[in-house]
């Protein structure tokens, strides 16, 4: 009987000591930032790299003298690919560790899970991954691509340069592909593509047997019109997909595949020779020819002590987000959330493709869109680069969001202002 109480006591003590443990590091002359990326579980495959990038950026910044004369300190936690744990860890970072800002999340689910926490506790999250849009929070900055910064330019390229008339929208069955494909379908139809020339198809997460799907694509592609596949297939399912494509002899010259979730890191697990010519659309490729990029890659190799480690788009997004935050904090002279939120809008920082990216009032950033073809060495050959594009959080091609805009500057300070009704949604007014 007694032992239950004792156990309870011991447990409380354990939790308290965790607090103490962290507290010990909380010296006054450091500014803490949170790193909220899964280091175990299914998402570790993608997110661990971003944790490393953040640690590298913090180290570099400290070499430059830190921020506001204080050293930065990264607090790394592991939400273990478990969405409710993301919320718990976010709460812990903000309330207990008192971090000034958090860099993290990969999947939309994890972002949706922490969003209420950031709004409630009024902190800042930098989210570095391409996503489906349809969201704008006062406390979140979206430095990855919105659909218009990736999907639409890619489709334009295929239609123009390759004369594609028939489209397969192949995706993993979750929100990002569903939304992107809805937007793309509306866009393609607005460009005069017939509904019969669009095939949408979904597969489960981690799908590995692509034989039927690939032969379906082949069949759809044999109608005599130039066909392309727009792939929003998620991480793990890509390797077997491309292997099947290669083995069934679908060459990029016949049916090109353009992917939005396949970057250098994913290709690192693949023999890319049969895939030469298939495409990807991102805002950054490791093969970008720019001095700032060469420098970044050099530092990355030095930091990871591995000159085979590749760089990729979410890393660039993390880089931009981090630098924008640093600049905004320097400008505001404080890490206070409200002041930083004010000062960060309009901040321009160099991106890794040789230009600059600006934080826009809708909490998205400007970035050029690059289309690359896969090469035999696992890198991308950039075949097109656009002028910088502003991330569009509310798609113009979805009926319910085309009237919405987001502008977090005062006096509007609204994430979903309806230009038709002249009201800010979500406030109940």
């Amino acid at each position: 009987m007694n032992f239950k109480k004792k156990l309870g006591g011991a447990m409380l003590a354990a939790v308290m000591s965790t607090t103490a443990f962290h507290g010990a590091f909380a010296a006054d002359d450091t500014i803490k930032i949170g790193v909220l990326h899964s280091l175990s579980g299914t998402m570790a495959i993608s997110e661990t790299t971003l944790k490393d990038v953040m640690l590298m950026l913090v180290e570099q910044q400290n070499k430059k003298g830190g921020v506001l004369g204080k050293k930065l300190e990264a607090v790394v936690v592991d939400p273990a690919s478990d969405w409710p744990l993301f919320a718990e860890k976010a709460r812990q970072l903000i309330s207990k560790d008192k971090v000034a800002a958090v860099f993290g999340c990969w999947t939309s689910s994890s972002r949706k899970s922490v969003l209420p926490v950031f709004e409630e506790l009024n902190s800042i999250l930098f989210y570095p991954v391409q996503y489906e849009g349809e969201e704008s929070s006062r406390n979140i900055f979206y430095t990855g691509a919105a659909p218009n910064q990736q999907a639409i330019p890619a489709v334009d390229y295929l239609a123009k340069e390759e004369g594609v008339k028939r489209w397969v929208l192949e995706g993993t069955d979750y929100v990002y592909p569903q939304t992107t494909n809805k937007i793309l379908k509306a866009y393609l139809m607005s460009k005069g593509v017939a509904e019969a020339d669009i095939m949408i198809n979904y597969t489960p997460f981690g799908f590995s047997d692509w034989q039927t799907e690939v032969s379906k694509i082949k069949a759809f592609g044999s109608a005599g019109k130039k066909t392309a596949v727009v792939s929003t297939i998620n991480g793990d399912a890509n390797v077997p997909f491309y292997k099947e494509l290669g083995n069934q002899g679908i060459k990029a010259e016949d049916i090109p595949v353009v992917a939005f979730s396949v970057g250098e890191e994913e290709l690192a697990g693949l023999d890319t020779k049969p895939l030469v010519g298939h495409l990807a659309a991102w805002n950054y490729f490791q093969s970008v020819d720019a001095d700032v990029n060469a420098e970044f890659i050099k530092e990355w190799h030095a930091f990871t002590k591995n000159d085979k480690r590749v760089t990729n788009d979410p890393m660039e997004a993390a880089y931009i987000g981090f630098n924008a935050w640093v600049k905004a904090v320097e400008a505001a002279g404080t890490t206070d959330t409200d002041k930083v939120l004010d000062s960060i809008i309009g901040v321009s920082v160099p991106n890794l493709s040789g230009g600059t990216s600006t934080v826009m009032p809708n909490h998205h950033i400007t970035k050029p869109v690059l289309i690359g073809e896969i090469q035999a060495d696992g890198q991308f050959d950039i075949v097109q680069e656009t002028a910088p594009v502003v991330g569009d959080e509310w798609s113009d091609y979805l009926p319910d969001s085309k009237n919405l805009i987001s502008d977090w500057r005062k006096p509007m300070a609204c994430g979903n202002f309806n230009v038709a009704s002249g009201k800010c949604g979500g406030k109940g007014s």
Binding site: T48, S222, N247, E265
Partner: protein, 534 residues
């Protein structure tokens, strides 16, 4: 299209003087240095029109991304990476043109569209090659990218061709070119028949592509040909589906077969089974890596070398797990579930710590890449070898279990431990070896699965549930049941998939298994009688 046309006109105008007089392709090739994609396309047309077969290596190099121009003088060369720079080769004569540092030359951009143009152009240019194989692939190239420009070349080549197979292919290539040309209606009608006889998806595509523009009088012939090919294709699709099902089934079999021993025969709910598969895949990766670094010539043998390595590595890990943990848990099956789940977490994290969380590249040896056609079906080599391989393992295992002394001991121990031990069988050894065998087979399976799936620390997780379903569905303790269950679930899945979609298909299969277990609580091939209850 319009833009292309304009740029073509622009090009012709801008290069008007040289292009008319040109029979030497070299200046044309040099123009590629500063051309954008549209200009390059026009230039390629002109290069092909010279009919000069000396340009073939340059076109090939362009297609492979090996064509460079020298920044100092904008001259174009084929570049072969050599040390820190490039060996430059003259694009037409093939003569060496010295070397250049990496930053002294720039790669000429290429995209899919240009590659397509090159393929067609090269097809036309190499139709007359003295090499039979080259002619055959040239005819193929023409067949795959029909273009009216190739028609004269094909006909010229046809006239000289003597080899029967090549001739037949060229006839088909001619038919394809005829359809997109402005030849007479009769000639086109003949072409439609030739293509119809050719059959297959490609033929369907060719006929479909002209259906909009073809002469109205040919329309009935065309439609008849299309529907004939389609209905034939439907039959082949059925066959193809069965094949896909068997192939998926063989993957399930591979994944499950080790479990059929550790779970089915020994009764251990081995949740670490998936991680054994993963370890096998990582063993393969390490072996390939060593071969790449030290003996690249052996690469095609890498899988053959990796198989025993994977077997031994995972077998050894299995041995350690059995001796260290599982032997204390016999008779408590549900607790083996907990312990082995713990083992699986530790193995996953260990691999993640050593190799990192990202996918590792495991290459396909050449004999496992690509595909070959059987009628209207495409059989990929890797799937085919995996089917062969999984059946081989299955029968080898069956042999070990039923025909060897060790197999007899193993069955004796699992049926009545005490009796077996009093008969002088060293039960601890048999247990450890059996678990090692099951693990080792999972490892081999991992080596094979590395050919079609991701090699990442999560690899095992994706197979564990399916594996249990197969063993339970087949009937625990029955190897034949495992085989039948794997293949039938594979085929069922592949027949559901086109109807319901992949996601719903998978859910339905799970629900069907649940329902089936209600009907036959001990699987397809369950032992009956009193023994089961004991």
């Amino acid at each position: 299209m319009l833009i292309r046309l304009f740029s073509l006109i622009f090009l012709i105008l801008s290069f008007a003087a040289p292009s008319f007089a040109q029979s030497d392709p070299k200046p044309l090739i040099n123009h590629l240095a500063k051309a954008d994609f549209a200009e390059a396309e026009a230039l390629l047309g002109q290069i092909a029109a010279t009919g000069d077969t000396r340009v073939v290596p340059a076109l090939q190099a362009f297609s492979d991304g090996d064509l460079y121009f020298r920044k100092s003088d904008n001259l174009v060369f084929i570049g072969k990476a050599a040390g820190a720079g490039f060996d430059l080769i003259d694009p037409v004569t093939g003569a060496s043109a010295g070397q250049a540092a990496k930053n002294a030359v720039t790669k000429i951009k290429i995209n899919n569209n240009l590659r397509r143009v090159i393929r067609s152009a090269m097809g036309g240019l190499t139709l007359m090659s003295p090499d039979r194989g080259v002619r055959l692939s040239a005819a193929d190239a023409v067949l795959r990218s029909p273009s009216a420009e190739n028609l004269d070349l094909v006909e010229a080549a046809l006239a000289k061709e003597t080899d029967r197979e090549v001739k037949a292919r060229m006839e088909e290539a001619r038919a394809v070119s005829v359809l997109s040309s402005d030849r007479s209606v009769d000639e086109k009608r003949g072409a439609i028949q030739t293509i119809k006889a050719l059959g297959g998806r490609n033929a369907l595509g060719i006929l479909g592509s002209v259906s909009g523009s073809i002469d109205a009088s040919l329309k009935p012939d065309l439609d008849a040909a299309i529907s004939a090919i389609q209905s034939e294709q439907q039959l082949w699709d059925m066959g193809q589906n069965v094949w896909y099902g068997l192939s998926l089934g063989s993957v399930l079999l591979l994944a499950a077969i080790g479990l059929a021993i550790t779970f089915g025969v020994m009764g251990i709910i081995n949740m670490a089974h998936g991680e054994m598969v993963m370890l096998g895949a990582y063993s393969t990766f390490v072996v390939q890596q060593l071969i790449r670094d030290h003996a690249p010539g052996l690469f095609d043998w890498s899988l053959a070398i990796a198989l025993p390595v994977a077997f031994l590595v995972t077998g050894a890990v299995g041995f350690v797990i059995e001796r260290g943990i599982i032997r204390f848990l016999y008779g408590r099956p549900l607790e083996t579930l907990l312990a082995t789940w713990g083992v699986s977490l530790i193995l996953q994290q260990t691999i993640r710590s050593i190799f990192g969380p990202t996918n590792q590249e495991v290459g396909n040896p050449s004999w496992m890449s690509g595909s070959f056609p059987i009628g209207g079906m495409t059989i990929t080599w890797n799937r085919m070898w995996i089917i062969v391989f999984s059946l081989t393992i299955f029968f080898a295992l069956l042999f070990v279990m039923k025909r060897t002394a060790y197999g007899l001991n193993m069955r004796a121990v699992t049926q009545n431990r005490r009796m077996a031990s009093s008969m002088g069988i060293k039960t601890p050894w048999v247990d450890a070896l059996t678990f090692a065998l099951g693990s080792g087979i999972a490892g081999i399976a991992g080596a094979a699965l590395s050919q079609i799936d991701n090699v990442s620390p999560n690899l095992g997780q994706s197979y564990i549930i399916d594996s249990f379903m197969v063993v339970v569905f087949g009937g625990v303790g029955n190897l034949w049941g495992t085989l039948i269950a794997a293949l039938s679930l594979g085929v069922l899945n592949k027949f559901l998939e086109p109807v319901t979609g992949a996601v719903l298909g998978k859910i339905l299969v799970l629900v069907l298994i649940i329902l089936f277990i209600q009907k036959r609580p001990r699987g397809l091939f369950a032992l009956k009688g009193r023994a089961v209850e004991a």
